[in-house]
Every structure is written in C-alpha cells, then in structure tokens.
C-alpha cells in the first residue's frame, strides 16, 4: 500500500545492455562499471528475481493456454493454437454471464460498504477523549483481521445456522428461523456483513495515521473563525485525509473483480450458486474440478485484464481530477 513508489532521482531507465549496447559504447561502459562496482548487490537480487520470474511472470506467460489447447501432463504452454475459441465459448456461456453479474454486484456492494465504513469508524474513534477506551476499541476491531478465512467461514456458518445466534434474535422478535445458507437471497447480505466485520477495524489504521498528520493549528484557526465541530470535520478533517481516501479507493477498485474468492469458496454451496458464484469460483470449478484448463485460463485472463484496466483507469482519473495517484 505504499502510496508512491516513484523515486524522484530515478532517471529514465537506460535500455538493457544487450539491445543497444553494441551501438552505444557509453551505455555499455556505464553498465559494465555499475556491474563491476555493485556486483555484490546485484548478486543479492538474483534469487528474489528468480522468484518473481518463476512464480509471477511465468504464469503470466502461461496464460497463453487460453489460446492454445492444453493437455494435462503436456507442455506448460499448451499444444496447438486454437485462436479465440475459448473466449468465444465463455462469451456464449450463460453461466459465465451469471457469474459476471454476481461478481459485479458483490464487488459493488463490498466497495459501497467496505470503503466508507473505515472512514466513519476512524472519525468516530478520533472523537474519543479517553486514550484507554480508544485503544480498547481499536484492539478489538483489528482482531478479526488476524483470523484465517477458514475460521471466519466457520463462524459465519455457525452464526447463521438454524439454531445459531442470528436465528435466535429473529426468534426473539417473533420471527421464524431462516435457513440462510440454503437460499440464494441471503448470500449477498451474509457475505458483505462478514466482510465488513473482518475488514472495517483494520481499514481504520491508515485513516487514523493520516489524522495524526493534520496540523492542530488548522483547528484552532477554524475555531476562532467560529466553525463548529461539524464544520471543522467537513472543512479540515476530511480534506486532510483525502489523499489516503483516494489511494485506498483506487486500490479497492483494483480488487473489484478479484472479489473474496477464498471466502466465497468456503461459504457457498450449490444452493446458493445463483447469487454466490463469481468469476473466480466458476473458473475454479471449470478448471480444477472439471479439468478444463484452457477454458478456465481464458476466463481468468479476462478477469485479470479487467482488474488491471480498472486500476489503471481509476489511477488516471484520480490523477487528473484530484491530483493523487499511485504512481
């Protein structure tokens, strides 16, 4: 979540030595000099670089199987070219459009609740005067973040079971128990509330940090000018944390498509597929349960490209409009 990875003094990258080096003596010599001087540093980077190439970039190339027929046990990059065949299949696949819609709805709901609520909680915490109380609430609200998704899913299933607490509350108000996990109409509510439960507290950290950097003198000045607390919050506090808000919004938009894959996988069942099944869980079943690797890779590639496009456009829009961007 580093906000700015660009380094002011980093000059534009010289081309890699192999390409232009033969023609450009000067570049070649400086690279040689750099290598001679810093070879020990470069050597430290070798194993991590190998990690990135093998486990991050090779799978990106591996996506080529979306356009080739892949045979399990065969080559990593598939056997024969089939062009856009798999893309066409999923564009014609009604299940794909259903899971596409589910992904979009769950993503939008998550963004709608999980983005603003940490800001609200941070503002509320900021108004607390007792240091002990503030610390207590923070400690408690961070706790769910440290849980395994398996535990979270287990808790959700227990709480929403027929004899679970949620149904007891419903019973106390005279309602009849609801089989939450057997009907698709409840999945979105359950998913989003558990997501809020797990992420809101942790999400406040960066906002609380941003709040500490706001200059107290601004509040003093506003008070002298007659601003009440609400106006102080509106005109000083919120603008003060705006860069943090924008950064986190861009990051949230970037993960829009890759919505809670592991948690949905743990929570859903065939009865809730109509609302719970998202692109990533569908491709998991298509690819790894039904062994249709090429088709699943095509869906996955589509998903990643939408995700990348969303980050890039959110970043570009934000840079133009509010002047904050990730890079």
């Amino acid at each position: 979540m580093t906000i700015d990875t660009r380094e002011p003094e980093a000059a534009p990258e010289p081309p890699p030595p192999s390409a232009k080096a033969l023609r450009d003596r000067r570049v070649k010599r400086t690279w040689r000099k750099a290598l001679r001087r810093d070879w020990q540093l470069y050597s430290l980077a070798l194993v991590p670089l190998l990690f990135f190439l093998l486990f991050r970039y090779l799978p990106m190339l591996g996506n080529v199987i979306a356009f080739r027929r892949f045979v399990p046990g065969g080559s990593l990059f598939g056997e024969t070219w089939v062009g856009l065949r798999y893309i066409k299949i999923f564009l014609d696949d009604p299940t794909f459009w259903q899971v596409f819609g589910n992904t979009f709805i769950l993503g939008a709901l998550t963004l709608l609740f999980c983005f603003p609520l940490p800001i609200v909680l941070a503002l509320l915490l900021n108004e607390v005067r007792s240091r002990f109380f503030k610390q207590f609430v923070q400690t408690v609200s961070y706790l769910p973040h440290f849980l395994s998704l398996v535990i979270v899913a287990g808790m959700v299933l227990q709480l929403t079971s027929i004899e679970g607490t949620v149904n007891q509350v419903i019973g106390a108000f005279g309602g009849s128990p609801i089989a939450f996990m057997q009907g698709p109409q409840w999945f979105r509510t359950i998913y989003v509330s558990s997501e809020v439960w797990q992420t809101v507290g942790w999400g406040t950290i960066l906002y609380l940090a941003a709040l500490t950097t706001i200059d107290d003198q601004l509040y003093e000045a506003a008070k002298i000018d007659g601003a009440n607390r609400w106006k102080q919050t509106w005109h000083i506090t919120l603008p003060g944390i705006r860069p943090t808000m924008v950064t986190l919004l861009i990051l949230n938009i970037g993960t829009f498509m890759a919505i809670g894959f592991e948690k949905i996988l743990l929570l859903y069942n065939p009865l809730t597929y109509p609302t719970a099944d998202v692109i990533s869980t569908y491709l998991f079943r298509v690819g790894l349960v039904s062994n249709n690797f090429s088709y699943a890779a095509a869906i996955g590639l589509f998903e990643s490209i939408i995700g990348l496009t969303l980050v890039l456009s959110a970043n570009a829009i934000s840079r133009r409009t509010v002047g904050t961007s990730l890079w």
């Binding site: 810093d38 980077a45 440290f146 398996v150 609380l208 699943a296």
Partner: protein, 311 residues
C-alpha cells in the same frame, strides 16, 4: 518519516488531535460524545461476539447447542470434546504440519524479502527502477489460478512442502515496507563501514541487520500469521490428508457439516455433533494467534504505517 515501529506505535497511541478545551463544547457535541461512546461499545461487542460464542460452544454439551441455547456462556460445561480432539492423531499431525510450514515459509520469505528490499533501497544502483517495477507490477496483474496451478504441477511440487512455501515467498507489500525502512537508515554508517573495509555482504549482515531488528520482527509476524492462516495452497496442491495443515483439516470438517445441514437431512445429529467439535477445532486453531495477539498487534499496526506513511 517515522521509521522506528515502537516510536510510531507511541505516536499512534497519542490522541490524534489534542483539543484541551472542554468548556466551549456545545450541548449537541456533549450528546454526540455520549452517543459515540455507546456506538463504539456496540461495535466492539458485535466484533467480539463470534469469538465468545465459539469459545462457549466449545465447552458446551452438544444437546444445548442443538437446541440453540449456547450464546455467551457454556451450557453443560465439559472438556470432553477437547479430550477427543486432542487425542486425535490426525489433528495433531495437521497441527504439526502447520507449524512446519509456517516456520519454513517464514524463514524463506524473510531471507528473500530482506535481500531484495536491501538492494532496492540503494538509490545509486543502476537498473534499480526496473527492479522495483518487476516487483510492483505483480501487485496489479497476476497470472491467475490456472497457469499457477499448471506451473506448480509441472514443477513436480504437488504434495511437497514447496508448493505451500515457495509460490508466495515474497509479499510485495512487505517488500516495500522493508525497503522504506532501509532507505531511512543513515547512509553515513554504511559508508564508514565500507571505508573500514567491509564489503556489501558485511555491511548488510554486520551493520544493517542489527539495526533492523524492529522491522525484521514485524516481517516475521506478518509472514508467520499469513502462513499460519493460509489454507488455499495446501487445499489445492495436496491430495494426501497426512500433509494437510490444520486449516485444511478444519475446512474439511466445516464443509462436511455444512453439507449435512444444507441437505436438511432429518438425522441432523451428525451435523450437530460436528458443531461442537468444529468449535473446539476452531478454538485450538486460532489459539496461538489469540495468545500472541495482544503483544503483536502494535507491531502490525506500526508495520502497516511504515509502508503507508511515506512523505
């Protein structure tokens, strides 16, 4: 920029905005403060409830859970299920697996992250921007599930420790946190050490690392908790139950019980017995984290800040 996590934690504890004047508060604001306290207490209660509920269930007799009478306190208090689970060799085997995976993965992650972060912190290094870019790009684009699965299979890493340890060895977020820390160290120290004849490795091991205990501790915590909690790689790449970490053991138990209840079968006994056993397993799985949580929480917080507050 603040670099020492403990200093950062201290700063965080300080009330964000100091407003000493209480006299001038309006009535509306006083009401707000009272409402605010109750609201925050309610949030804390809702957050804590699922934990309390699970612990209560784990000590309860299953017939009380079945009739929905266990909420905050155990009913029919007993340690029977704890005894059953703790005498189950399968459970202990998966617990031990989790420990082994966590320790191995954390060590490997730590070495890779530290070395790469150190290289990235050297601003004079030629090609540094490219090295940063190689890492950062993977935050926004990844190969996806299927190509990763195919790769791990082709490498013959299925059903081996490496499948859960290597593919996520470097977290780019952690890398950037560490890089920010190294950049904040005084350059003069390293220059002096170089003049005294230490080479790059010597500087890293004898000068930089001893100064970085705080950030290394943070990294150990980040990686250890992530590895302790992870389940998906093991679920994906292990076919043999004797390799499962405790999270997958628990997942299989949870999903088994779900199927029983979701089918709405009349003999829901199976599902109900499971809910007590499930609760015990959940408590035991989360126990190490809950035990260290009070001590590690502030380091986590300052670690996140370290990566984020960059000015």
């Amino acid at each position: 920029m603040i670099t020492d996590p403990t200093e950062l934690a201290k700063r965080l504890e300080k009330p964000a905005v100091v407003r000493p004047t209480r006299v001038g508060d309006t009535r509306g604001h006083r009401i707000f403060r009272v409402v605010n306290v109750f609201l925050l207490l309610a949030i804390a209660a809702v957050t804590l409830y699922p934990f309390v509920n699970i612990v209560a269930q784990s000590f309860s007799d299953e017939q009380y859970i079945r009739t929905g009478r266990v909420n905050l306190v155990p009913r029919g208090f007993n340690l029977k299920t704890y005894e059953i689970i703790m005498s189950d060799p399968t459970f202990w085997n998966s617990y031990l697996n989790t420990v082994v995976y966590t320790v191995t993965a954390t060590l490997i992650s730590l070495v890779l992250t530290t070395t790469y972060a150190y290289v990235l912190s050297k601003h004079h290094l030629k090609g540094r921007g490219l090295l940063v870019g190689v890492a950062v790009f993977t935050m926004f684009f990844n190969g996806g599930l299927i190509p990763n699965y195919v790769l791990i299979s082709e490498l013959g890493m299925k059903n081996t420790l490496w499948a859960v340890v290597l593919p996520n060895a470097i977290s780019v977020f952690n890398l950037l946190v560490m890089k920010a820390f190294f950049e904040s160290l005084p350059k003069e120290l390293e220059e002096a050490a170089t003049v005294d004849g230490l080479n790059t490795y010597g500087v890293l091991f004898r000068i930089v690392l001893p100064l970085s205990k705080a950030v290394i501790a943070t990294m150990v915590l980040f990686y250890a908790v992530a590895n302790w909690n992870s389940w998906f790689s093991a679920f994906l790449y292990f076919d043999r139950a004797d390799l499962f970490p405790v999270t997958v053991y628990l997942r299989n138990m949870v999903s088994g019980a779900t199927t029983a209840t979701s089918l709405g079968s009349a003999d829901s006994d199976v599902g109900q017995v499971n809910s007590n056993i499930k609760a015990v397993t959940m408590v035991l799985t989360v126990l190490p984290i809950l035990t260290v949580y009070p001590f590690i929480q502030r380091y986590f917080v300052s670690g996140v800040m370290l990566g984020a507050v960059k000015q």
